[in-house]
Symmetry: C2
Subunit: 379 residues, 2 copies
């Protein structure tokens, strides 16, 4: 059995993405900065991709910059807006991804700006009134940095509301869209977003490539100094295979968004229904009302077997995750679970689905779980 329920960690490539990447590997070898024919061929790959990505979020092509991933993109948004745009105060939340929280640790310990981390409630929600109040009291230029969908528990922040609060207070807003890009519609014309960061491998594109949208009016300078690639904003010869693959993946994800949503939501609903009817004492982490349709975090009771829950799932051929994947193979205590007050005696496991998953896999997983965690006895 091989069931991959770890799509919030990374997703399999779409067949179309594989083909696109292979065609670039086979056919294109010029440097996009070279003016000769081989260079122009590579340049077209990069600029076509930029056009596609821009269209997918309603941006102009001049506002899209390719990076090595969302980590680099988020580092750019935070560090460069402080350095270049006079941001003196960054407001974020305790449950953000490490590429935000660790960058904020660095900002704080080097006194680059004031940092405020909003607490969350037991569902992972911030208090929007508190956000407003902090901004109203702040006399300095502020940047709000929040994720659309939490990667560990799926709780969604209200992007439109945050964007409005930002606008009302002349604050910048960095949206970490790593988990939502391609899954939820986003249009930078409708929502006041200053920076938006995306990562290809979360929407069936390749690993090691991402992008940042930078609104024209708050253009920053480069984090990485060198050649004039990306109009001087991101130096280094472009990852042409990755960029082409990312654009293909995003275009298809946006095209099939509604169809995928329905399919994946069906899987999640079925999973939750079976968890509740078949398993004993399972709690659901995250938000009942504002949870992403592809992520479920379950909290298992402490039993003799629960310490080996992840290992037993792996042995059963089910790939899921304790917390996020970015902690280098170590089962560290999750800062997200801690922030929502998760009982450390219980065991949290994240199941995250994609269009490639099936109802059969859901049923098989429940059967496996019944052998690992207490099942409900038949009345």
């Amino acid at each position: 059995m091989n069931i991959y329920f770890d799509n919030a960690s990374t997703t399999p490539l779409l067949d179309e993405v594989k083909e696109k990447m292979k065609s670039v590997i086979d056919e294109v070898y010029g440097n996009p900065s070279s003016i000769h024919r081989q260079g122009r061929q590579a340049k077209i790959i990069v600029e076509n991709a930029r056009k596609i990505v821009a269209e997918c979020i309603g941006a102009s092509t001049g506002e899209i910059f390719f990076t090595s991933g969302a980590t680099e993109a988020n580092n750019m948004a935070l560090l460069c807006s402080i350095r270049d745009l006079g941001v003196k105060h960054v407001i974020s939340a305790t449950t953000e991804h490490h590429c935000i929280t660790h960058t904020l640790d660095y900002i704080k310990s080097n006194s680059l700006a004031k940092v405020t981390l909003l607490p969350v409630d037991t569902s992972g929600h911030i208090d929007y009134n508190q956000l407003s109040a902090i901004l109203e009291q702040s006399r300095e230029k502020c940047l709000i940095s929040l994720m659309h969908v939490n990667n560990e528990i799926g709780t969604m922040h209200d992007v439109n509301r945050i964007a409005e609060i930002a606008q009302e207070n002349q604050a910048l807003f960095n949206l970490d869209s790593s988990q939502s890009m391609g899954k939820y519609p986003i249009d930078v014309n409708d929502t006041n977003i200053s920076f938006l960061c995306g990562s290809a491998h979360k929407f069936h594109g390749p690993k090691g490539v991402g992008f940042i949208y930078i609104k024209n009016e708050n253009m920053i300078q480069t984090l990485m100094h060198g050649g004039d690639q990306e109009r001087g904003l991101r130096s280094g010869t472009e990852n042409i295979y990755g960029i082409a693959g990312m654009a293909e993946a995003l275009q298809i994800s946006v095209r099939d968004q509604e169809e995928n949503r329905q399919h994946i939501k069906g899987l999640k609903d079925k999973f939750l229904q079976l968890v509740q009817s078949e398993l004993e004492d399972i709690k659901i982490n995250g938000s009942d009302t504002h949870g992403a349709y592809n992520i479920i975090s379950l909290s298992f009771p402490k039993t003799e077997k629960s310490d080996l829950l992840m290992m037993n799932l792996d042995i059963a051929g089910i790939c899921a995750s304790a917390g996020s994947a970015c902690s280098s193979g170590v089962e560290n205590a999750s800062h997200v679970l801690e922030a929502i007050g998760h009982d450390p005696e219980r065991k949290a496991v994240r199941f995250s689905f994609s269009k490639f998953n099936t109802l059969e896999e859901i049923e098989q997983t429940i059967e496996s779980l019944k052998k690992i965690t207490p099942a409900k006895s038949i009345a």
Copy 2:
């Protein structure tokens, strides 16, 4: 006709590299940070690649970190050694790549450290006595950053001599090996190098991936904050296709180094011989005695046609370069040519060869050049 003589800009992928990348695209989709089977499969790809790269330069695997290219690697070496290792003075040269000179501009304008750029002679050589004298006079911790092979004119710095000077003066030494990696032997056990930066696409590997060697005794902290990837030194989900392709490319380049050198040197010798016997008033930029075997920079006389030299070469199907490729398609005045006192009235063109080029292509190029620039009349 399609003759690619722009291998200092970027190189075509080896067939073995294409196959390696495609196999990762087809077979591996886990996140190397995930502890389940899919994750472990991806982790093995990354760690095998690290072992290969380490072996190619005599490093230990714990000293190799994957990056998005040499630009990022060089930025890390410069910015992080100042931030983390107490470097107060960086000594480099006027002819370094923009990823060094532009980072140094940034360091200077933000008063992060003192910067000294060594001038070069008309062949592109620095004065090693001057380098020694500056280090002897400096009372602060110094970092020398120099490239092995100049990307525009092929002039080689004497790495062993620089390493000795660094050691005598307790200075750190960052070697930008972008143009030499895979073409010249390098062993960090024999040469006192603190940092070494490489870029896959210069040695028939993929674009958008590179590495930095960081000697254990001068370990820095991360430039990009986030997850614990690369043992916390470089956050962001790994570009597994690129990393696998790079290791394959480096291993083969090192294996075939001597054979490639002989073939390419034969092409360069033939090209120079024909240039001198067939074309009028051509000067050679760079070093007669210490020039890389794969790069020739020619200086063409000003004629009616010389302004359109690059375009005419392109029309003839010959890909070469005016200066380096990293200036975003614009034929800017080259800082390297300026540094060696190149007559701005004349037109410089760089021809750079790889193992895929042939003697026939050399002859065809000379025939094309005879139509674009004054040919010698037959006596």
